[in-house]
Symmetry: C2
Subunit: 200 residues, 2 copies
């Protein structure tokens, strides 16, 4: 898109006007229900990026990781070092490591009890429920119970739910939904292994 | 997907076997060229989430923000507080605030000179070039020059490029590409304003 200076000026003025108009119409504040789903990368990273912002603003962040407990994550060490972040990790890694549906359900219940306590406490500005979508996909928790809990949470609490396969009803209930779509992945195409910083 | 315990066991065993096979075939380590694009949210947040991991591992992170200079970002304050992170912000906010193509090009050049110095230095494990896609879309920098610089960077340096409208040739050159697809956005649909933690 090559443009002359005067076209550029007209174009950017128009774009700025549109942006300002949209911004002026957006006046409400409320806690958002945010969902990151899809088979691409970045669902958890984007949630933790928002968590980092929240902590940086001096607001209070809570995290419940539902199934990545066995995996070392460097972001946990950093976020957890802040007084205004509470980080809880449940489960024993990916579900296929346990090979036991009953044990997986019990672990999911434990994580959800922790999440409910944090949802109800009124102490948080943002709560990240990492990989909860996967828990819901496998029906380890009743979807209706989860949606009811979200609907009755404190009005200004942002909740971020990550994981593949977000249920349709959760997407319906959400305010902000992003699908991370896989375009290219080096695991599959080039035989490259998981590397620090990128994958864990 | 309701399953009986024995089906669950068979299913998870099969899935685990496939995962292990794929992991065993992935043995190479190399610096990845990573692109986050699309009109959805989370492109920069996911990059900063990876940056947080990198810093948490004690690896060295560099960041050049090409067009968000005027916007306060809490993640900058936190990342910048670590000795193993160098954070540079260029530009004067969104391009439509300056209304001047020549000034925008000069600012892009300044950011790119900074990025090149960091790419060539050999001192970094990961470099985040935030919103560079937008700079390329507006042709503020020659794409060929950028691709050549990426192709000749140190072999183990991960580069993460964010922004809408990633050029096709950059996607071709990349190892890992995720498109953040907008499914629902509260600005547009509910008149909700930008909020701390979520948007900035």
């Amino acid at each position: 898109m090559k443009t002359e200076p005067q076209d550029h000026l007209r174009m950017t003025q128009k774009r700025k006007a549109g942006f300002e108009k949209k911004k002026a119409a957006a006046t409400k504040e409320k806690g958002l229900l945010i969902v990151h789903t899809g088979t691409g990368k970045g669902k958890s990273s984007a949630a933790f990026g928002m968590g980092l912002r929240t902590v940086g603003h001096g607001m209070r962040l809570g995290v419940v990781q539902f199934i990545k407990g066995a995996l070392y994550t460097a972001e946990r060490d950093i976020l957890d070092s802040f007084d205004n972040c509470d980080f809880h990790t449940m489960g024993e890694g990916y579900t296929w490591n346990t090979q036991n549906r009953e044990a997986d359900i019990a672990t999911a219940r434990q994580g959800w009890a922790q999440a409910c306590a944090m949802l109800d406490s009124g102490e948080y500005d943002m709560l990240i429920l990492d990989e909860l979508n996967v828990i819901l996909k496998y029906q380890y928790l009743p979807l209706e119970e989860v949606l009811h809990q979200f609907a009755t949470r404190p009005a200004n609490l942002h909740v971020v739910v990550t994981g593949r396969h977000a249920p349709e009803a959760l997407i319906e209930a959400a305010d902000l939904v992003t699908e991370m779509r896989l375009v290219k992945h080096p695991y599959r195409e080039q035989g490259i292994k998981a590397q620090a910083g990128v994958e864990f």
